[in-house]
Symmetry: C2
Subunit: 327 residues, 2 copies
DNA sequence: TATGCGATTGGGCAATTATCCAGTCGAAGG
DNA sequence: CCTTCGACTGGATAATTGCCCAATCGCATA
């Protein structure tokens, strides 16, 4: 396993490996063995500052994974209430973080945890993945694994309107990390016309990916709001004009590009006619977990639950409380 | 972040829960959300010192679990060499810790990790557990889980010679933590005579436990040295005189009370005639992982491998290197 | 060989965290 | 009602960690 890998770059490769190796060792000594940084420096024969840098690198490069193994009562209770109230199959609530406005911390960790659990299963799983910031953060938190028995399916198109492959990395990163078969959707998020969509979907590779997506056991999706800063607008998938039209039509959010109203009903006739993603998996056969944090997503989450678009949720306390208040 | 933390009063349950809950939240904010302790203090409405205490409690009480997700090259390589050289099925090497003489750090973590992986499986596992300090530390590191599908079998007697239940806690603690069926061996480690052993083993509950132990899929055992500070002597299971006799007879170590010589061959006729533990599971059907760290255990580990008593090993770099040198 | 450039290093110091300690609170008991 | 005891608190302070910066190193290029 640890053979000297073919050097990819003259200056990097070997060197970077060595450094990460040292970082891992330093991180181990610090977090597992409980050494102080100056002790680590002594053990590893470097200066204290270098030891500090290694420990810090270990943490920031994700070598060190931390999890909290305690049912935080309030979160547990909120989760149970949500399950009961809305008939959700899976709910995970993470603690609030009032001083931060990150929309991923915590939620991404919890999602990575659940995803990892799935991946540890021996029976082959078909795992569908949407796109978005939170999903990206989730994958970043995933450890390296070896799971050739599973299949990872991209649920949404991965291309930017100009053909660039920005979000590509989500599905590729995950496949790379866990050594599973991956099925990306090499498509734009929205086709430029109904005809194009038909053409795109006629491709045999896309056909089989779409088919697999319908058989997914579990799906992780983000929920995009449709406010002024809507991700699909900000990322250039829909024009400002189209965004306004969607808002007028009562659209509150989207999942994998599928736009829906406050009752969770897909809005026909507008951008939904162009969405290149396949239909969302059926909540009857698939656990569809939405990752959502932040006030802006409340209407979307609420609607997605009402419309039975999702049957699982990972969010934070504030959202949980708001959902329960809205009943 | 090493010393202190001993306040484990047996007082008010409700109160302790609340405190642990707060600790979990503080730990989450600190390690997952990356807040500073004064921010946590502000968020949770306590003084900075109290926040510090909560974070510290979260860590020392094991609510916070840390793992290193990186193949440390040197350890990987040593592990592979050991697998190849001795035909072991499972080897895990943890980094050295030259400044500490703990015999559990690292090894216990790695064992807890492997055990946890097993427990996450859905197909029912029969998991056998020996006794000893390292096993105890391993269980302490295990998170709470819910695995009613598995069975946990105690491999060795759990009673002190005077009937006290000192090591009881290992098997009970594990069963409690993971909600699995547990089969303790309510026996002394050594019977006082051959006749007593027959009597003890005739009990139907013991019978079924012994039978289950033979069907184990995986076993975690410690290796006890038989030097002047031999655990089975120190803990009062054998007298000083018997220890001397065993040493004279060429005994180098014991697993679950079964004493063997430097070739890993069980020594007949002495204390082995009194061992209340059932026979060790067969390495043909069971993955028997020994947990061993520390120079004193080298002869024992080497012998156990030679005699095919074990087919798995979790140890540290020093031991690994020493084993490879001994070939 | 000299030179430029980016990465790395360790000193110095600020920020953060850990611990000491005396005072307070509350429960248990006289 | 008072005392004792143990746990908890916050102020003060020590210990540890994080970061800036100038010096240096490694290396590719002129």
């Amino acid at each position: 396993m640890s053979k000297s890998s073919k050097n990819q770059s003259v200056s990097n490769g070997e060197d970077t490996n060595k450094r990460l190796d040292d970082a891992a060792r330093a991180g181990w000594l610090y977090y597992v063995a409980g050494k102080r940084q100056d002790e680590i420096a002594q053990i590893m024969g470097v200066s204290r500052q270098s030891a500090q840098r290694l420990v810090s690198l270990a943490m920031s490069s994700g070598i060190i994974k931390v999890r909290v193994d305690h049912p935080i009562a309030r979160c547990q209770q909120l989760g149970q209430q949500l399950r009961d109230e809305f008939g959700l199959k899976y709910v995970e609530i993470v603690p609030d973080d009032p001083l931060s406005n990150s929309t991923t911390t915590g939620v991404a960790n919890a999602a990575a945890n659940e995803l990892e659990n799935r991946l540890k299963r021996e029976d082959p799983q078909i795992i569908a993945i949407g796109t978005g910031q939170t999903l990206k953060a989730t994958i970043d938190l995933l450890p390296n694994m070896n799971c050739p028995q599973h299949k990872i399916i991209s649920l949404a198109g991965n291309l930017m309107p100009d053909g660039a492959a920005t979000f590509y990395s989500v599905i590729f990163a995950v496949a790379d990390k866990i050594k599973a078969l991956s099925y990306p959707m090499v498509l734009p998020v929205l086709a430029s016309s109904r005809e194009e969509r038909i053409l795109l979907h006629a491709q045999s590779t896309i056909q089989s990916t779409l088919k697999l997506a319908q058989q997914a056991n579990i799906a992780f999706v983000g929920i995009g709001d449709l406010g002024a800063e809507a991700p699909i607008y900000r990322d250039g998938f829909v024009s400002h004009k189209d965004l306004k039209i969607l808002q007028k039509a009562g659209a509150v959010a989207e999942i994998c590009g599928w736009v829906f109203d406050q009752s969770g009903i897909l809005i026909d006739g507008l951008t939904n006619d162009l969405v290149a993603s396949g239909p969302l998996p059926s909540p009857k056969s698939c656990l569809i977990i939405a990752l959502a944090k932040g006030k802006k997503k409340l209407p979307g989450v609420s609607a997605a639950i009402k419309g039975n678009l999702i049957n699982g949720l990972i969010t934070d306390e504030t959202m949980a409380i708001a959902l329960l208040k809205n009943i």
